[in-house]
Protein backbone atom coordinates (compact mmCIF):
# COMPACT_ATOMS: atom_id res chain seq x y z
CA UNK A 1 0.00 0.00 0.00
CA UNK A 2 1.38 3.42 -0.87
CA UNK A 3 2.32 5.77 1.96
CA UNK A 4 -0.44 8.25 1.21
CA UNK A 5 -3.07 5.55 1.07
CA UNK A 6 -1.81 4.03 4.32
CA UNK A 7 -2.13 7.39 6.07
CA UNK A 8 -5.63 7.96 4.71
CA UNK A 9 -6.68 4.44 5.76
CA UNK A 10 -5.24 4.97 9.23
CA UNK A 11 -7.12 8.21 9.81
CA UNK A 12 -10.30 6.78 8.35
CA UNK A 13 -10.03 3.82 10.73
CA UNK A 14 -9.38 6.15 13.65
CA UNK A 15 -12.40 8.26 12.76
CA UNK A 16 -14.72 5.26 12.43
CA UNK A 17 -13.55 3.73 15.72
CA UNK A 18 -13.97 7.05 17.54
CA UNK A 19 -17.43 7.55 16.05
CA UNK A 20 -18.37 4.00 16.99
CA UNK A 21 -17.21 4.44 20.60
CA UNK A 22 -19.08 7.73 20.89
CA UNK A 23 -22.33 6.47 19.40
CA UNK A 24 -22.21 3.23 21.41
CA UNK A 25 -21.73 5.15 24.65
CA UNK A 26 -24.70 7.43 23.84
CA UNK A 27 -26.91 4.47 22.94
CA UNK A 28 -25.90 2.73 26.20
CA UNK A 29 -26.71 5.91 28.11
CA UNK A 30 -30.17 6.13 26.56
CA UNK A 31 -30.89 2.45 27.10
CA UNK A 32 -29.69 2.44 30.70
CA UNK A 33 -31.98 5.37 31.48
CA UNK A 34 -35.13 4.15 29.80
CA UNK A 35 -38.04 5.33 32.03
CA UNK A 36 -39.64 2.59 34.06
CA UNK A 37 -42.89 2.90 32.12
CA UNK A 38 -40.95 2.19 28.91
CA UNK A 39 -39.35 -0.99 30.20
CA UNK A 40 -42.00 -3.31 29.05
CA UNK A 41 -41.99 -6.97 29.87
CA UNK A 42 -41.73 -8.50 26.46
CA UNK A 43 -43.41 -11.81 25.98
CA UNK A 44 -43.44 -13.47 22.61
CA UNK A 45 -47.18 -13.70 22.02
CA UNK A 46 -47.13 -17.36 21.16
CA UNK A 47 -49.07 -20.03 22.96
CA UNK A 48 -46.81 -22.01 25.28
CA UNK A 49 -47.82 -25.23 23.53
CA UNK A 50 -46.84 -23.88 20.12
CA UNK A 51 -43.59 -22.65 21.59
CA UNK A 52 -42.93 -26.13 22.91
CA UNK A 53 -43.46 -27.56 19.46
CA UNK A 54 -41.24 -25.14 17.59
CA UNK A 55 -38.41 -25.04 20.10
CA UNK A 56 -37.62 -28.67 19.42
CA UNK A 57 -34.60 -29.85 21.34
CA UNK A 58 -33.82 -26.37 22.60
CA UNK A 59 -36.77 -26.23 25.00
CA UNK A 60 -34.56 -25.99 28.06
CA UNK A 61 -32.44 -23.22 26.60
CA UNK A 62 -35.48 -21.27 25.53
CA UNK A 63 -37.01 -21.74 28.98
CA UNK A 64 -33.84 -20.27 30.50
CA UNK A 65 -33.89 -17.32 28.13
CA UNK A 66 -37.55 -16.50 28.73
CA UNK A 67 -36.97 -16.61 32.47
CA UNK A 68 -34.00 -14.29 32.05
CA UNK A 69 -36.16 -11.76 30.24
CA UNK A 70 -38.81 -11.94 32.95
CA UNK A 71 -36.24 -11.58 35.69
CA UNK A 72 -35.25 -8.09 34.52
CA UNK A 73 -38.45 -6.97 36.15
CA UNK A 74 -37.55 -8.36 39.54
CA UNK A 75 -35.60 -5.20 40.30
CA UNK A 76 -38.30 -2.61 39.67
CA UNK A 77 -41.63 -4.33 39.73
CA UNK A 78 -43.35 -1.60 41.71
CA UNK A 79 -43.45 0.53 38.61
CA UNK A 80 -44.87 -2.07 36.27
CA UNK A 81 -48.34 -1.98 34.72
CA UNK A 82 -51.03 -4.67 34.67
CA UNK A 83 -50.06 -5.40 31.06
CA UNK A 84 -46.52 -6.12 32.20
CA UNK A 85 -47.83 -8.59 34.76
CA UNK A 86 -49.87 -10.34 32.13
CA UNK A 87 -46.75 -10.57 30.01
CA UNK A 88 -44.65 -11.80 32.95
CA UNK A 89 -47.32 -14.40 33.72
CA UNK A 90 -47.18 -15.55 30.08
CA UNK A 91 -43.38 -15.74 30.18
CA UNK A 92 -43.50 -17.86 33.34
CA UNK A 93 -46.11 -20.08 31.71
CA UNK A 94 -43.99 -20.43 28.58
CA UNK A 95 -40.91 -21.21 30.62
CA UNK A 96 -42.77 -23.85 32.64
CA UNK A 97 -44.37 -25.41 29.57
CA UNK A 98 -40.94 -25.73 28.02
CA UNK A 99 -39.30 -26.96 31.21
CA UNK A 100 -41.67 -27.82 34.06
CA UNK A 101 -38.79 -29.18 36.12
CA UNK A 102 -37.05 -25.83 36.32
CA UNK A 103 -37.07 -24.83 39.99
CA UNK A 104 -35.81 -21.31 39.29
CA UNK A 105 -39.10 -20.50 37.57
CA UNK A 106 -41.04 -21.92 40.49
CA UNK A 107 -38.95 -19.83 42.90
CA UNK A 108 -39.50 -16.62 40.91
CA UNK A 109 -43.23 -17.26 40.67
CA UNK A 110 -43.50 -17.63 44.42
CA UNK A 111 -41.18 -14.71 45.09
CA UNK A 112 -42.70 -12.34 42.58
CA UNK A 113 -46.07 -13.30 41.16
CA UNK A 114 -47.77 -14.73 44.26
CA UNK A 115 -47.44 -11.48 46.21
CA UNK A 116 -48.98 -9.45 43.45
CA UNK A 117 -52.57 -8.40 44.05
CA UNK A 118 -54.84 -10.14 41.56
CA UNK A 119 -52.21 -12.71 40.53
CA UNK A 120 -52.61 -15.18 43.41
CA UNK A 121 -54.75 -17.67 41.49
CA UNK A 122 -52.53 -17.41 38.45
CA UNK A 123 -49.45 -18.06 40.56
CA UNK A 124 -51.11 -21.14 42.03
CA UNK A 125 -52.11 -22.31 38.55
CA UNK A 126 -48.49 -22.03 37.41
CA UNK A 127 -47.03 -23.66 40.53
CA UNK A 128 -49.08 -26.76 39.84
CA UNK A 129 -46.75 -27.56 36.91
CA UNK A 130 -43.58 -27.99 38.98
CA UNK A 131 -45.67 -29.54 41.77
CA UNK A 132 -46.69 -32.27 39.34
CA UNK A 133 -43.37 -32.77 37.56
CA UNK A 134 -40.99 -32.34 40.49
CA UNK A 135 -42.55 -35.29 42.24
CA UNK A 136 -39.61 -35.59 44.62
CA UNK A 137 -39.67 -31.94 45.72
CA UNK A 138 -41.82 -30.74 48.63
CA UNK A 139 -41.31 -27.02 47.95
CA UNK A 140 -43.72 -26.41 45.04
CA UNK A 141 -46.55 -28.05 46.99
CA UNK A 142 -45.57 -26.07 50.06
CA UNK A 143 -45.74 -22.83 48.07
CA UNK A 144 -49.20 -23.73 46.77
CA UNK A 145 -50.36 -24.53 50.31
CA UNK A 146 -49.01 -21.22 51.58
CA UNK A 147 -50.64 -19.25 48.77
CA UNK A 148 -54.06 -20.85 49.36
CA UNK A 149 -53.81 -20.07 53.06
CA UNK A 150 -52.17 -16.68 53.07
CA UNK A 151 -53.69 -15.00 50.04
CA UNK A 152 -56.90 -16.85 49.31
CA UNK A 153 -57.81 -17.77 52.95
CA UNK A 154 -58.67 -21.29 51.78
CA UNK A 155 -57.39 -23.31 54.72
CA UNK A 156 -58.85 -26.57 53.43
CA UNK A 157 -56.91 -26.52 50.18
CA UNK A 158 -53.88 -25.09 51.98
CA UNK A 159 -53.95 -28.01 54.41
CA UNK A 160 -54.29 -30.51 51.56
CA UNK A 161 -51.16 -29.26 49.79
CA UNK A 162 -49.20 -29.00 53.04
CA UNK A 163 -50.05 -32.61 53.75
CA UNK A 164 -48.93 -33.64 50.26
CA UNK A 165 -45.67 -31.72 50.74
CA UNK A 166 -45.07 -33.25 54.15
CA UNK A 167 -45.21 -36.78 52.66
CA UNK A 168 -42.17 -36.17 50.46
CA UNK A 169 -38.65 -37.05 51.55
CA UNK A 170 -36.53 -34.22 52.95
CA UNK A 171 -39.62 -32.17 53.81
CA UNK A 172 -38.91 -30.38 57.09
CA UNK A 173 -41.08 -31.71 59.95
CA UNK A 174 -42.65 -28.29 60.42
CA UNK A 175 -44.49 -28.71 57.12
CA UNK A 176 -46.64 -31.44 58.64
CA UNK A 177 -47.29 -29.26 61.71
CA UNK A 178 -48.32 -26.31 59.60
CA UNK A 179 -50.63 -28.47 57.57
CA UNK A 180 -52.25 -29.75 60.70
CA UNK A 181 -52.78 -26.23 62.02
CA UNK A 182 -54.44 -25.24 58.79
CA UNK A 183 -56.70 -28.21 59.05
CA UNK A 184 -57.69 -27.10 62.54
CA UNK A 185 -58.31 -23.55 61.25
CA UNK A 186 -56.71 -22.20 64.39
CA UNK A 187 -53.63 -20.20 65.16
CA UNK A 188 -53.61 -18.53 61.75
CA UNK A 189 -50.99 -15.95 62.61
CA UNK A 190 -48.66 -18.52 64.15
CA UNK A 191 -49.17 -20.73 61.09
CA UNK A 192 -48.33 -17.84 58.81
CA UNK A 193 -45.18 -17.07 60.85
CA UNK A 194 -44.11 -20.70 60.66
CA UNK A 195 -44.57 -20.86 56.90
CA UNK A 196 -42.88 -17.53 56.33
CA UNK A 197 -39.90 -18.59 58.46
CA UNK A 198 -39.57 -21.77 56.44
CA UNK A 199 -39.64 -19.79 53.21
CA UNK A 200 -37.11 -17.36 54.66
CA UNK A 201 -34.70 -20.21 55.39
CA UNK A 202 -35.10 -21.50 51.81
CA UNK A 203 -34.73 -18.10 50.10
CA UNK A 204 -31.41 -17.56 48.32
CA UNK A 205 -31.36 -13.85 47.54
CA UNK A 206 -31.27 -10.81 49.77
CA UNK A 207 -34.22 -8.95 48.33
CA UNK A 208 -36.56 -11.87 48.75
CA UNK A 209 -35.23 -12.52 52.28
CA UNK A 210 -35.83 -8.89 53.26
CA UNK A 211 -39.40 -9.06 51.98
CA UNK A 212 -40.04 -12.20 53.99
CA UNK A 213 -38.26 -10.84 57.08
CA UNK A 214 -40.51 -7.77 57.07
CA UNK A 215 -43.56 -9.97 56.75
CA UNK A 216 -42.38 -12.22 59.60
CA UNK A 217 -41.77 -9.22 61.87
CA UNK A 218 -45.13 -7.77 60.91
CA UNK A 219 -46.86 -11.03 61.81
CA UNK A 220 -44.93 -11.32 65.06
CA UNK A 221 -46.20 -7.84 65.87
CA UNK A 222 -49.74 -8.94 65.01
CA UNK A 223 -49.37 -12.06 67.16
CA UNK A 224 -48.21 -9.94 70.10
CA UNK A 225 -51.20 -7.63 69.66
CA UNK A 226 -53.63 -10.54 69.20
CA UNK A 227 -52.44 -12.12 72.47
CA UNK A 228 -52.79 -8.80 74.26
CA UNK A 229 -56.31 -8.33 72.80
CA UNK A 230 -57.24 -11.84 73.89
CA UNK A 231 -55.97 -11.16 77.41
CA UNK A 232 -57.95 -7.86 77.51
CA UNK A 233 -61.13 -9.64 76.39
CA UNK A 234 -60.72 -12.24 79.09
CA UNK A 235 -60.39 -9.52 81.74
CA UNK A 236 -62.94 -7.00 80.51
CA UNK A 237 -65.38 -9.21 78.61
CA UNK A 238 -65.02 -7.23 75.40
CA UNK A 239 -62.37 -6.27 72.87
CA UNK A 240 -60.57 -2.92 73.35
CA UNK A 241 -61.71 0.11 71.31
CA UNK A 242 -58.12 0.91 70.24
CA UNK A 243 -54.64 -0.58 70.40
CA UNK A 244 -53.46 2.26 72.69
CA UNK A 245 -55.86 0.91 75.32
CA UNK A 246 -53.66 -2.19 75.61
CA UNK A 247 -50.73 0.03 76.65
CA UNK A 248 -52.85 2.12 79.04
CA UNK A 249 -54.08 -1.04 80.68
CA UNK A 250 -50.53 -2.37 81.05
CA UNK A 251 -51.03 -5.37 78.75
CA UNK A 252 -48.31 -4.05 76.44
CA UNK A 253 -45.18 -2.16 77.41
CA UNK A 254 -44.92 -0.56 73.96
CA UNK A 255 -46.51 -0.85 70.55
CA UNK A 256 -44.65 -3.39 68.36
CA UNK A 257 -42.97 -1.90 65.29
CA UNK A 258 -44.76 -2.27 61.97
CA UNK A 259 -42.24 -2.68 59.06
CA UNK A 260 -44.96 -1.59 56.62
CA UNK A 261 -46.18 1.57 58.29
CA UNK A 262 -46.21 3.85 61.36
CA UNK A 263 -48.55 1.70 63.31
CA UNK A 264 -50.75 -1.38 63.11
CA UNK A 265 -54.31 -1.04 61.89
CA UNK A 266 -57.10 -2.20 64.16
CA UNK A 267 -60.73 -3.03 63.39
CA UNK A 268 -62.54 -2.27 66.66
CA UNK A 269 -65.65 -4.18 65.54
CA UNK A 270 -64.00 -7.51 64.80
CA UNK A 271 -60.83 -7.18 66.92
CA UNK A 272 -58.65 -8.01 63.92
CA UNK A 273 -55.23 -6.46 63.48
CA UNK A 274 -53.60 -5.68 60.12
CA UNK A 275 -50.16 -4.40 59.17
CA UNK A 276 -51.34 -2.72 55.96
CA UNK A 277 -54.59 -1.80 54.27
CA UNK A 278 -54.38 -4.60 51.73
CA UNK A 279 -55.18 -7.78 53.61
Amino acid sequence: MSGKRAIVSFFLLLFIISALLLTNSRVKHYRDNIPAENQRAEALMVSPTLLKVISGEFKGLWADYILLKASIFLGGYYESTPEDWDAIYLMFKQSLTLDPYFFQTCYYIQGLLSWREGMHEKAIELLKYPAQYRYWDWEPKFYIGFDYFYFLHDNLKGAHYMAEAAKLPDAPPIVATLGARLAQREGKTETAIGMLKLMYDRASDEKHKKLLEDRINAHIGILTLERAISAYKQTHGEIPDSLDTLIHKGLLKQMPENPFGDTYLYDAETGRVFFDEIR
Binding site: A19, L20, T23, N24, R31, K69
Partner: protein
Protein backbone atom coordinates in the same frame (compact mmCIF):
# COMPACT_ATOMS: atom_id res chain seq x y z
CA UNK B 1 -17.51 5.09 -7.20
CA UNK B 2 -18.84 4.14 -10.65
CA UNK B 3 -17.37 0.70 -10.33
CA UNK B 4 -18.83 0.32 -6.82
CA UNK B 5 -22.32 1.01 -8.24
CA UNK B 6 -21.67 -1.37 -11.15
CA UNK B 7 -20.75 -4.19 -8.80
CA UNK B 8 -23.67 -3.45 -6.50
CA UNK B 9 -26.12 -3.49 -9.43
CA UNK B 10 -24.80 -6.77 -10.75
CA UNK B 11 -24.96 -8.26 -7.24
CA UNK B 12 -28.50 -6.99 -6.77
CA UNK B 13 -29.63 -8.46 -10.09
CA UNK B 14 -27.97 -11.80 -9.32
CA UNK B 15 -29.55 -11.95 -5.89
CA UNK B 16 -33.06 -10.87 -6.89
CA UNK B 17 -33.19 -13.59 -9.54
CA UNK B 18 -32.00 -16.27 -7.17
CA UNK B 19 -34.62 -18.93 -6.44
CA UNK B 20 -33.57 -19.11 -2.80
CA UNK B 21 -34.65 -15.49 -2.34
CA UNK B 22 -37.95 -16.16 -4.02
CA UNK B 23 -38.55 -19.18 -1.77
CA UNK B 24 -37.73 -17.22 1.38
CA UNK B 25 -40.06 -14.40 0.36
CA UNK B 26 -42.92 -16.78 -0.38
CA UNK B 27 -42.61 -18.33 3.08
CA UNK B 28 -42.42 -14.90 4.68
CA UNK B 29 -45.47 -13.69 2.78
CA UNK B 30 -47.36 -16.80 3.79
CA UNK B 31 -46.51 -16.30 7.44
CA UNK B 32 -47.49 -12.61 7.23
CA UNK B 33 -50.96 -13.68 6.19
CA UNK B 34 -51.25 -16.89 8.19
CA UNK B 35 -51.24 -15.10 11.54
CA UNK B 36 -54.65 -13.67 10.66
CA UNK B 37 -56.05 -17.13 11.27
CA UNK B 38 -54.66 -17.36 14.79
CA UNK B 39 -55.45 -13.81 15.95
CA UNK B 40 -58.87 -14.79 17.32
CA UNK B 41 -57.17 -17.29 19.65
CA UNK B 42 -55.42 -14.54 21.57
CA UNK B 43 -56.92 -12.76 24.53
CA UNK B 44 -54.15 -10.17 24.73
CA UNK B 45 -54.18 -7.03 22.63
CA UNK B 46 -54.12 -8.33 19.11
CA UNK B 47 -52.41 -5.29 17.64
CA UNK B 48 -49.31 -6.26 19.55
CA UNK B 49 -49.60 -9.85 18.28
CA UNK B 50 -49.76 -8.54 14.72
CA UNK B 51 -46.67 -6.39 15.25
CA UNK B 52 -44.76 -9.25 16.89
CA UNK B 53 -45.54 -11.75 14.17
CA UNK B 54 -45.12 -9.29 11.31
CA UNK B 55 -41.70 -8.24 12.52
CA UNK B 56 -40.78 -11.84 13.29
CA UNK B 57 -41.49 -12.70 9.63
CA UNK B 58 -39.35 -9.79 8.52
CA UNK B 59 -36.48 -10.70 10.81
CA UNK B 60 -36.53 -14.41 10.05
CA UNK B 61 -36.72 -13.82 6.31
CA UNK B 62 -34.00 -11.19 6.54
CA UNK B 63 -31.75 -13.51 8.53
CA UNK B 64 -32.37 -16.34 6.08
CA UNK B 65 -31.42 -14.02 3.23
CA UNK B 66 -28.29 -12.79 5.00
CA UNK B 67 -27.08 -16.14 6.22
CA UNK B 68 -28.06 -18.46 3.38
CA UNK B 69 -28.32 -16.28 0.31
CA UNK B 70 -25.79 -13.63 1.30
CA UNK B 71 -23.11 -16.03 2.48
CA UNK B 72 -23.95 -18.32 -0.42
CA UNK B 73 -23.33 -15.59 -2.98
CA UNK B 74 -20.17 -14.44 -1.22
CA UNK B 75 -18.85 -17.99 -1.03
CA UNK B 76 -19.55 -18.46 -4.72
CA UNK B 77 -17.54 -15.34 -5.39
CA UNK B 78 -14.60 -15.75 -3.06
CA UNK B 79 -14.21 -19.47 -2.59
CA UNK B 80 -15.28 -20.54 -6.08
CA UNK B 81 -13.46 -17.70 -7.78
CA UNK B 82 -16.23 -15.99 -9.70
CA UNK B 83 -14.69 -12.88 -8.12
CA UNK B 84 -11.97 -13.23 -10.77
CA UNK B 85 -14.52 -11.98 -13.28
CA UNK B 86 -14.46 -8.68 -11.38
CA UNK B 87 -10.91 -8.51 -10.05
CA UNK B 88 -9.41 -9.14 -13.49
CA UNK B 89 -10.82 -5.68 -14.35
CA UNK B 90 -9.41 -2.38 -13.10
CA UNK B 91 -11.42 -2.77 -9.89
CA UNK B 92 -9.72 -2.52 -6.51
CA UNK B 93 -10.51 -4.99 -3.76
CA UNK B 94 -11.96 -2.21 -1.65
CA UNK B 95 -14.31 -1.25 -4.46
CA UNK B 96 -15.32 -4.88 -4.75
CA UNK B 97 -16.09 -5.16 -1.03
CA UNK B 98 -18.07 -1.92 -1.01
CA UNK B 99 -19.97 -2.74 -4.18
CA UNK B 100 -20.73 -6.26 -3.04
CA UNK B 101 -21.96 -5.08 0.35
CA UNK B 102 -24.18 -2.42 -1.20
CA UNK B 103 -25.61 -4.95 -3.62
CA UNK B 104 -26.36 -7.43 -0.83
CA UNK B 105 -27.90 -4.61 1.22
CA UNK B 106 -30.10 -3.83 -1.75
CA UNK B 107 -31.34 -7.43 -1.82
CA UNK B 108 -32.22 -7.31 1.87
CA UNK B 109 -33.85 -3.88 1.50
CA UNK B 110 -36.09 -5.14 -1.29
CA UNK B 111 -37.09 -8.17 0.79
CA UNK B 112 -37.74 -6.08 3.92
CA UNK B 113 -39.88 -3.58 2.01
CA UNK B 114 -41.92 -6.32 0.35
CA UNK B 115 -42.57 -8.08 3.64
CA UNK B 116 -43.34 -4.77 5.39
CA UNK B 117 -45.85 -3.88 2.68
CA UNK B 118 -47.54 -7.27 2.87
CA UNK B 119 -47.55 -6.98 6.66
CA UNK B 120 -49.29 -3.61 6.50
CA UNK B 121 -51.80 -4.88 3.94
CA UNK B 122 -52.59 -7.99 5.95
CA UNK B 123 -52.85 -5.83 9.07
CA UNK B 124 -55.37 -3.60 7.29
CA UNK B 125 -57.28 -6.72 6.16
CA UNK B 126 -57.22 -8.04 9.73
CA UNK B 127 -58.55 -4.81 11.24
CA UNK B 128 -61.24 -4.55 8.57
CA UNK B 129 -62.51 -8.14 8.66
CA UNK B 130 -61.56 -9.58 12.07
CA UNK B 131 -63.45 -8.12 14.99
CA UNK B 132 -60.88 -9.20 17.59
CA UNK B 133 -58.08 -7.40 15.85
CA UNK B 134 -57.21 -3.87 16.95
CA UNK B 135 -54.55 -1.34 16.09
CA UNK B 136 -51.66 -1.13 18.52
CA UNK B 137 -52.04 1.66 21.06
CA UNK B 138 -51.00 5.15 19.79
CA UNK B 139 -50.05 3.68 16.42
CA UNK B 140 -48.34 6.05 13.93
CA UNK B 141 -46.90 5.39 10.47
CA UNK B 142 -43.80 7.25 11.52
CA UNK B 143 -42.94 4.83 14.29
CA UNK B 144 -43.69 1.85 12.05
CA UNK B 145 -41.38 3.30 9.40
CA UNK B 146 -38.58 3.79 11.91
CA UNK B 147 -39.17 0.25 13.19
CA UNK B 148 -38.81 -1.19 9.68
CA UNK B 149 -35.71 0.93 9.04
CA UNK B 150 -34.10 -0.21 12.29
CA UNK B 151 -34.94 -3.81 11.43
CA UNK B 152 -33.16 -3.29 8.12
CA UNK B 153 -30.17 -1.68 9.85
CA UNK B 154 -29.80 -4.59 12.24
CA UNK B 155 -29.88 -7.01 9.29
CA UNK B 156 -27.18 -4.91 7.62
CA UNK B 157 -25.03 -5.24 10.70
CA UNK B 158 -25.44 -9.02 10.55
CA UNK B 159 -24.70 -8.94 6.80
CA UNK B 160 -21.48 -7.02 7.34
CA UNK B 161 -20.40 -9.56 9.95
CA UNK B 162 -21.30 -12.39 7.55
CA UNK B 163 -19.10 -10.73 4.93
CA UNK B 164 -16.17 -10.49 7.33
CA UNK B 165 -16.48 -14.11 8.39
CA UNK B 166 -16.79 -15.30 4.78
CA UNK B 167 -13.57 -13.51 3.91
CA UNK B 168 -11.80 -14.82 7.03
CA UNK B 169 -12.89 -18.46 6.87
CA UNK B 170 -12.50 -20.89 4.01
CA UNK B 171 -15.83 -22.54 4.54
CA UNK B 172 -19.39 -21.32 4.02
CA UNK B 173 -20.75 -23.35 6.95
CA UNK B 174 -18.23 -21.91 9.38
CA UNK B 175 -19.17 -18.45 8.24
CA UNK B 176 -22.90 -19.21 8.73
CA UNK B 177 -22.25 -20.64 12.17
CA UNK B 178 -20.18 -17.69 13.38
CA UNK B 179 -22.59 -15.17 11.94
CA UNK B 180 -25.55 -16.81 13.61
CA UNK B 181 -23.61 -16.96 16.86
CA UNK B 182 -22.89 -13.24 16.76
CA UNK B 183 -26.57 -12.59 16.01
CA UNK B 184 -27.68 -14.57 19.07
CA UNK B 185 -25.13 -12.87 21.32
CA UNK B 186 -26.00 -9.45 19.90
CA UNK B 187 -29.68 -10.03 20.69
CA UNK B 188 -29.23 -11.39 24.19
CA UNK B 189 -26.12 -9.67 25.57
CA UNK B 190 -27.89 -6.54 26.77
CA UNK B 191 -30.47 -8.63 28.65
CA UNK B 192 -27.78 -10.75 30.28
CA UNK B 193 -25.73 -7.71 31.31
CA UNK B 194 -28.83 -6.04 32.81
CA UNK B 195 -29.69 -9.11 34.86
CA UNK B 196 -26.10 -9.55 36.00
CA UNK B 197 -25.28 -5.95 36.88
CA UNK B 198 -28.62 -4.37 37.78
CA UNK B 199 -30.81 -7.25 38.92
CA UNK B 200 -30.93 -8.31 42.54
CA UNK B 201 -31.53 -11.93 41.84
CA UNK B 202 -28.10 -12.86 40.43
CA UNK B 203 -24.62 -12.43 41.81
CA UNK B 204 -21.51 -12.79 39.61
CA UNK B 205 -17.81 -12.17 40.07
CA UNK B 206 -16.27 -8.81 39.16
CA UNK B 207 -14.08 -10.35 36.44
CA UNK B 208 -17.06 -11.96 34.73
CA UNK B 209 -19.02 -8.70 34.88
CA UNK B 210 -16.03 -6.80 33.46
CA UNK B 211 -15.65 -9.29 30.59
CA UNK B 212 -19.34 -8.94 29.77
CA UNK B 213 -18.96 -5.18 29.75
CA UNK B 214 -16.01 -5.39 27.34
CA UNK B 215 -18.07 -7.64 25.10
CA UNK B 216 -20.77 -4.96 24.84
CA UNK B 217 -18.23 -2.73 23.09
CA UNK B 218 -17.29 -5.41 20.57
CA UNK B 219 -20.45 -7.35 19.80
CA UNK B 220 -23.18 -5.25 18.14
CA UNK B 221 -26.10 -4.42 20.41
CA UNK B 222 -28.87 -5.65 18.13
CA UNK B 223 -31.50 -5.14 20.84
CA UNK B 224 -31.15 -1.39 20.46
CA UNK B 225 -32.64 -1.73 16.98
CA UNK B 226 -35.69 -3.66 18.16
CA UNK B 227 -38.59 -1.21 18.28
CA UNK B 228 -41.40 -3.77 18.43
CA UNK B 229 -42.21 -2.77 21.99
CA UNK B 230 -42.47 0.91 21.03
CA UNK B 231 -44.75 0.08 18.11
CA UNK B 232 -46.85 -2.38 20.11
CA UNK B 233 -47.40 -0.12 23.13
CA UNK B 234 -47.24 3.27 21.44
CA UNK B 235 -44.29 4.29 23.59
CA UNK B 236 -42.56 7.58 22.82
CA UNK B 237 -39.43 7.34 20.70
CA UNK B 238 -37.03 10.20 21.22
CA UNK B 239 -35.36 11.78 18.22
CA UNK B 240 -31.89 11.82 19.86
CA UNK B 241 -32.18 8.10 20.66
CA UNK B 242 -33.23 7.34 17.08
CA UNK B 243 -30.39 9.36 15.59
CA UNK B 244 -27.70 8.05 17.92
CA UNK B 245 -28.78 4.45 17.42
CA UNK B 246 -28.89 4.86 13.63
CA UNK B 247 -25.44 6.45 13.73
CA UNK B 248 -24.16 3.60 15.91
CA UNK B 249 -25.47 1.08 13.38
CA UNK B 250 -23.90 2.91 10.46
CA UNK B 251 -20.51 3.27 12.13
CA UNK B 252 -20.55 -0.33 13.27
CA UNK B 253 -21.19 -1.43 9.68
CA UNK B 254 -18.44 0.98 8.62
CA UNK B 255 -15.82 -0.55 10.88
CA UNK B 256 -16.72 -4.11 9.91
CA UNK B 257 -16.63 -3.32 6.19
CA UNK B 258 -13.35 -1.47 6.68
CA UNK B 259 -11.86 -4.53 8.37
CA UNK B 260 -13.28 -6.78 5.67
CA UNK B 261 -11.69 -4.67 2.94
CA UNK B 262 -8.38 -4.70 4.83
CA UNK B 263 -8.42 -8.48 5.17
CA UNK B 264 -9.56 -9.02 1.59
CA UNK B 265 -6.86 -6.72 0.26
CA UNK B 266 -4.17 -9.04 1.52
CA UNK B 267 -5.95 -12.27 0.82
CA UNK B 268 -4.83 -14.60 -1.93
CA UNK B 269 -7.38 -15.84 -4.42
CA UNK B 270 -6.19 -19.29 -5.36
Amino acid sequence: MDRVWLISLVTLKEGIRNRALQGILIIALFSCVAYLTIIPMFAFDTGKVAVDLGFASMTLAGLAIVIFLGIGLLTQDIHQRSVCMILSRPVSRTQYVLGKFLGLSGIVLVAVLIIALIGVLSGWAGITFISEMTLPRNFTWHILGVGVLFNFLSLMIVMSIAFLFTVLTTNAYLSMLFTFGVYIIGQSLETIVKVVTAGDFARVGALYAWMLNVLTWIVPNLRAFDLKVHISYGLPLSVPYTLWTAAYGIFYIGIIIFLTAMVFRYQEIK
